[in-house]
Symmetry: D3
Subunit: 151 residues, 6 copies
């Protein structure tokens, strides 16, 4: 059940993380840590006159806190022993606002596996940060590099 | 000098942010806030036996803290008044490790501008998080949606 | 009035700390710092379907933040000059939930004093973290080691 | 437009910062970082029996977080290149409470400019931290030391 | 492999958590969050004249951050579905100092299982927070209440 | 020994707080919370080419964290029961840099007491934030408003 090698994955498999409620605290801490105090996130007077009607979380907060929820599944499910690198991410789109009190989770489906050289392979996911109403808030395509079994 | 509309930008222009030294504190706080405690970031015993020889920052820390450095340039340079949305990011690649004590900055060059419908346009940047030795640590392609001047 | 030696204490004396309102911020920070993101503390959707009907504080948050409230009394009342060590704690029980907005305080009564060797003695307390309705939320039995007056 | 020298300022000019909503999180973090847990800021039961009827922000939080809002204007407007030192502050008065949910901004007007020696000059401001109802919450008189243009 | 009921545990089984390096940041944050600024943890001048020769982590930091490391193993290994309550802890002893830079892990061995009423049972652990030299820094005896399989 | 009224103070009395070592963590957290990321505090490359040769703490950090150290003395020594308001501060001057690793304390001497109306009085202090070499880093003149004993 514990993943070790590239060969332990297959296209179509789905990981679903636990959920986390995004609080005002998370938004303030994210603004503070990054220095991104855009008023849509941190100025209630400004935000109430926007189309959202209230402060919303940073898009990057949704991506960052959301995608890390997968780590909660623990090393036995998530991290292959032969993990080599976090290769990158593609096509990040912020598709719906995350509001204070929304509860997000991450769903990641293996969509492509490619051998690469003699020893490794890349695994590409379709990642989605969803809220409690099952709406996609952030979609993204992360890719990892994993070692192959030597036969 | 203050940007207001899509028309106030041009392909090739470059923004360079102030620098920020990435500290052990930043890594601990990022691990805490996201829940990503991978040992390469938070376990010194583990990290000294990796190819890096020490703990390194999360790739997403480099992207998130690094890209937000642009906001330090202030509203007069950075944010156009007709800013509509952070459209997304493409091609994020983690190209060199950020170590404790490294000082990063963000450089963003306008690489593509496209009119979109009657009123708006997208501006695509080549973004680079560079360290004090001018090495690229993270490269990424953010895109924003901005209002056009109505003539 | 300032405690210096073991002999300055007596069985039955009671310390009552100032109060502190436990906020959503405290719970998020405690989850972040410890990595304990159990959904009963951090997932509002999950928590509303439990017997508590809402998120509650970690038991260890109640113990840790609650017991440290005694330090607010200041060095003149609390810490004997001959303090040697925090010996340990026994019988920690989590007897009632601490909810967001509850205001807790710590009450500690000296229940046992024992000479130990020639120079020191242990002082055992009955500790209680109480809420604004005077309910016990956490009970525990801390013990400290203090120097004796040399006669 | 970018300020470089003492001579680039003039008496009467006004800077207005962006706004920031002060949250419960800010108060808890400020209490934690400073160790000032006075019950008027951190004990809801105590605070509801005061003339404020609820917890209020620390006066020093208002001054510290409020005055730093000026930095959001960015280096091109705010910091002269020949900035030498933050000289000090005078006449700090806490004139109205800042409550959770209030949105503050900083307004700073140059009120006095004095040459000092051959090369430098001091610039004194009238600083005001105002809330969303345009009430002064903190008033203060900061002074900076800036280099003069050598003619 | 995923634990569901009381019956899925057995006396003698051992859980070993991942490790975490305790940093100066952790100590400052723990002092701030709890308000326990005892000089042995937060005053370098004071600490260098103690038997430790330097600042050490709070005993409760070791217990709290250390015991939560078990959660990193993920829901599939750690949390039984029929988990009912964190019953309490006994015999907490602080047996060796945790210094800045030490890497701790948690080892928990099931030492006693008792049926309790018709439906539940208690599982008692021997818990140990160990450092990178395999020394016990904190020992403690946590107990959880878990549902039984209905046959 | 516990102060209750204006009459319980006298000109010349001195309070000395416990010490606190200012860490890199404190500087990062203060920058984050306030948004003041001036490179002298947060950019090691920039700072090594200044007259200080390294990053230094914000002046306002020294004032804010330093002055709050007085609260550690506890309610029995510090806060009179008839405390009415923190009146303000005057003549804040930043007289020496606080560097990472410096240990600061606050010394406050009553310098002036004035009756005010029928019921209250103001108590003015000479406040000094000193480092481990007994140098003044910040000097300031806080004033509090306290109730008088009704005879």
């Amino acid at each position: 059940m514990e993943k070790e090698f590239f060969e332990d994955y297959e296209v179509g498999e789905l990981l679903v993380s636990p959920g986390r409620t995004i609080t005002e605290t998370d938004i303030v801490l994210f603004a503070a840590l990054t220095g991104d105090w855009h008023p849509i996130h941190t100025n209630a007077e400004y935000a109430k006159n926007t189309i959202f009607g209230e402060r919303i979380a940073h898009g990057m907060l949704g991506l960052t806190l959301g995608s890390a929820l997968i780590f909660r599944l623990g090393p036995y499910v998530f991290t292959p022993k032969k993990f080599i690198a976090f290769y990158g991410m593609d096509k990040i789109r912020f598709t719906a606002p995350i509001k204070i009190g929304d509860t997000i989770r991450c769903e990641a489906t293996v969509v492509e596996m490619k051998e690469r050289g003699e020893d490794t392979g890349t695994i590409a996911y379709d990642g989605r940060i969803k809220n409690q109403r099952d709406e996609d808030c952030v979609v993204f395509s992360p890719k990892i590099l994993v070692g192959r079994k030597k036969t």
